[in-house]
């Protein structure tokens, strides 16, 4: 149901409406899932996918048939894990063994979990988790091993994080802790997905040799979420922004949300944003290693959304008042562009990095760092898609002693000529001006009046009212 306010919005933003219509009409999925061949439990899994994820379900469902089910189950497994971790109503002693042994749970037929608090939005998934386990057993063992390995490491990481009492009281302390947290909840997902892609022969195996690239893919997405959700998380009593960053700007985390600390809050958000933005070139590098279109789309769409979200959050104080979002039109435009090729995605990254650079404020302590991060994106894109050929090769000039002298000679000559030329131009202009003045004067021009008026206009322009009044009086007389 379209709301009246939305209708009004699109009336004044026809461009965005156009983007939405374009996406809806022209987007053809690379692959479509074939529901007729799916078992009842698999259908239920896809139902849960739609229920638990808004942003990922669409891209997952268009994946190559080889990976469609494994990735869907991978997502649901991690979502299940996350639902246990997130729930503050489960006591730690109950939570910890579940998190640490979740990979074994995947082998227990009929395992379900009903002890989530009533407000946990995805609790139904765990109540019927047996359907996920049933489908999990059917996928290739190689895929099962990858998913179990990631689940194990993520579960243990989450358990460590929950157990660390300091996090519960003070939030995340150092930037290292922050990146470690993002590693467990997102960097590992990047690794898992990459291993699935390579196992399915849909990505370049070399990606596994550059682990920092897949790490950055996850880090960028997670960090953007943490930046964007700062207000919502704080209202829920959580803070993921590391103390090492915010303490440079404010004494207490809650000060960030007070209007009197607006500038400090913006500076703090800049530092968070640049920390994420510095990962952008790695992400483009990663995308260059993907072979198959549906896998490319699956990875590229969230990255494009992330960089656009960074731009929306940058220098935007609303970040501390509500959840800021990119508009639906912008999102559709990004999806249309991200489902083409690497070049289009590079264009998106460059476009948003320039928008960020344009808003960069010299008073911001992170000013130069932001500028460097934007420059790195430009350089990386230039390195894979040169905008100009390497400078043309001409016959090389070799300076022998004689030629050195000749160059010196001719440069001197050119300089003298230039000076004479400029002198001549200057003199000519000067003479013409004089002649024009004489002609105008002879024809009766009153330069004295023109001068006074000019002065009065200049005076009023600069706001010196008293002298203006005097001058106008004279002129009127």
């Amino acid at each position: 149901m379209i709301k009246a306010t939305e209708l009004l919005y699109y009336l004044v933003h026809p461009q965005e409406l156009r983007q939405i219509i374009q996406w809806k009409t022209w987007h053809n999925p690379v692959h479509e899932r074939d529901e007729s061949k799916e078992s009842a439990t698999l259908k239920r899994c896809f139902f849960f996918l739609d229920m638990t994820s808004r942003s990922f379900s669409a891209v997952i469902k268009e994946l190559h048939p080889e990976l469609l089910v494994p990735v869907c189950l991978f997502y649901l497994v991690l979502r299940g894990l996350d639902t246990v971790e997130d729930d503050m109503t489960i006591p730690l002693e109950k939570k910890e063994p579940i998190l640490r042994n979740f990979q074994d749970i995947l082998e227990q037929d009929g395992w379900t979990f009903t002890e989530n608090g009533p407000n946990e939005k995805d609790r139904q998934l765990l109540i019927e988790f047996n359907v996920v386990i049933e489908e999990f057993k059917k996928i290739k063992p190689a895929y099962q091993d990858i998913i179990k390995d990631i689940t194990k490491r993520m579960g243990n990481g989450m358990a460590d994080y929950c157990k660390n009492a300091e996090h519960n009281i003070n939030g995340v302390n150092t930037i290292k802790d922050y990146e470690l947290y993002c590693h467990y909840v997102a960097g590992l997902v990047g690794e898992g997905c990459t291993r699935l892609f390579v196992e399915g022969n849909l990505a370049n195996p070399a990606l596994l040799k550059r682990p920092e690239l897949m790490e950055s893919m996850g880090q960028l997405l997670q960090q953007v979420n943490i930046i964007r959700d700062v207000k919502e998380d704080w209202d829920d009593g959580r803070a993921f922004w590391p103390r090492e960053i915010w303490s440079k700007h404010v004494d207490n985390f809650e000060d960030l949300f007070k209007p009197e600390y607006k500038q400090q809050a913006l500076n703090c958000s800049s530092e968070m944003i640049v920390t994420a933005l510095e990962r952008a070139d790695d992400c483009l590098y990663y995308l260059a290693g993907l072979k198959e279109q549906s896998v490319f789309n699956f990875c590229a769409i969230p990255q494009s959304m992330a960089i656009a979200t960074l731009n929306t959050c940058f220098q935007n104080h609303n970040l501390f008042k509500k959840v800021v979002k990119i508009t639906k039109g912008e999102a559709c435009e990004l999806m249309t562009e991200s489902t083409q090729n690497l070049r289009m995605v590079c264009d998106i990254f460059r476009r948003y990095s320039r928008k960020i650079h344009h808003k960069n404020n010299p008073h911001d302590p992170s000013f130069l760092r932001i500028s460097v991060a934007c420059g790195k994106i430009e350089q990386f894109i230039e390195s894979i898609f040169p905008s100009q050929p390497q400078p043309r090769t001409t016959e090389e000039k070799k300076l022998t002693a004689a030629e050195e002298a000749r160059i010196k000679e001719s440069a001197e000559e050119a300089k003298r000529e230039m000076m004479f030329l400029m002198l001549a131009v200057g003199l000519t202009l000067f003479l013409i001006t004089i002649v024009m003045f004489i002609v105008a004067w002879a024809a009766g021009a009153r330069f004295d009046i023109a001068w006074v008026q000019l002065k009065s206009q200049l005076g009023s322009f600069f706001g010196s009212s008293s002298s203006t009044a005097d001058v106008t009086k004279h002129v009127e007389l």
């Binding site: 960069n360 350089q379 400078p391 300076l399 010196k408």
Partner: protein, 359 residues
């Protein structure tokens, strides 16, 4: 002791002294600093470094010094950089001086080195051998780009000298040329002082788009690259006969670098006025004309407008691959350290206009 001896020409200069420091810190070499000037007051000297005074324009002096000290490798970093207005319009004498020091001086060093049987030479060239062509933009340019199109005397002199060095490469005498981008750091004689002199009257004007990327290198990173080149010549020798672009690998909008430096001096331009490139070029021409008529120098000139609006950054993939070069000091950190040093030098006098229109 079997430690190789490394002789650094220009060893008490801005870059040379940093190279000496980096070599000393490896503990792998015996270091000799050769310079026309003794270490200046207040700069750090090292007890185990031999400081000798010689003029690279005197071949006999050089040969004698080389024979006495028997260096294994020579790092030739002595050179003359025409700064400020002299970069674009130098007098005949200035021009000849630059060519003499940079080209003839290099020839003397190469010949003396060969004569006494030095094993290799690392030459401090400059990225201007490619980028001093003011008519063109250089985006992520690599070593395959042709040299020899420099329009300014500095680039021309460095091109000739680099050519001379690289063509002297033989199996018994290995040579390598490093082409740093704009070097800055504490005690830097050109980059930071020129930017500092823009405060306060020139800072509000943004010439052109203000987004053109420029490339810089912090002095200690540049010195690191020299040490790596020395090591390469002594071991694998894969760099012999090659030229390498080196930079901080952090191309940044030229305007932003200026603003960041000014900010360290407590000055943020209170207003920003955009001036189209063509208008600025015209003003530059007028300023040059006026200063030519009146006598005196001008910071605004057609050349400086082109320098400020040019896109110029290099790819350092080759240096990374062959030399294993990796900048250790980031750009932001480098700017901070450098400006701290200059603040002490200039004293803490407040800048004339800082905060006048402040918010």
């Amino acid at each position: 002791m079997g430690r190789p001896t490394i002789l650094v020409t220009g060893g008490t200069g801005f870059l040379g002294s940093e190279i000496v420091k980096a070599l000393v810190e490896t503990n792998d070499y015996k270091v000799i600093a050769l310079d026309i000037n003794p270490p200046s007051l207040g700069t750090k000297t090292y007890p185990h470094v031999t400081y000798i005074r010689a003029n690279i324009l005197q071949p006999s002096e050089l040969t004698k010094m080389f024979q006495e000290t028997k260096p294994t490798i020579i790092v030739h970093s002595a050179g003359l950089v025409p700064a400020g207005n002299a970069r674009y319009n130098c007098t005949k004498e200035e021009r000849e001086r630059v060519l003499e020091v940079n080209v003839s001086g290099t020839r003397n060093v190469v010949e003396a080195a060969k004569e006494v049987g030095v094993r290799g030479l690392v030459y401090t060239s400059s990225f201007t051998v490619v980028t001093d062509d003011l008519e063109e933009d250089f985006r992520n340019v690599n070593e395959s780009a042709p040299t020899g199109r420099a329009g300014l005397v500095y680039g021309q002199s460095k091109t000739a000298a680099e050519e001379l060095v690289l063509s002297s490469n033989t199996p018994s005498f290995h040579t390598v040329a490093l082409r740093p981008s704009v070097i800055f750091g504490p005690a830097d004689p050109t980059c930071i002082p020129v930017l500092h002199s823009c405060i306060p009257f020139t800072t509000p004007f943004i010439i052109g788009t203000g987004t053109n990327l420029a490339d810089f290198i912090y002095v200690s990173n540049c010195a690191d690259a020299h040490v790596l080149a020395v090591r390469n010549l002594l071991t694998a020798g894969t760099a012999a006969g090659e030229a390498f672009f080196i930079s901080n690998g952090e191309p940044v909008a030229f305007r932003d670098f200026c603003v960041a430096v000014w900010k360290e001096f407590g000055h943020v331009p209170p207003v920003q006025v955009r001036i189209p490139k063509s208008l600025a070029w015209g003003l530059g021409a007028v300023a040059e004309w006026v200063s030519w008529v009146v006598g005196g120098t001008t910071t605004l000139s057609r050349g400086s407008v082109k320098d400020a609006t040019a896109v110029r950054y290099v790819s350092m993939q080759k240096a990374r691959r062959v030399l294993g070069y990796q900048p250790r000091v980031g750009l932001s950190e480098g700017v901070k350290i450098t400006c701290e040093h200059f603040k002490r030098r200039y004293g803490s006098r407040p800048m004339a206009s800082s905060g006048e229109f402040g918010c």
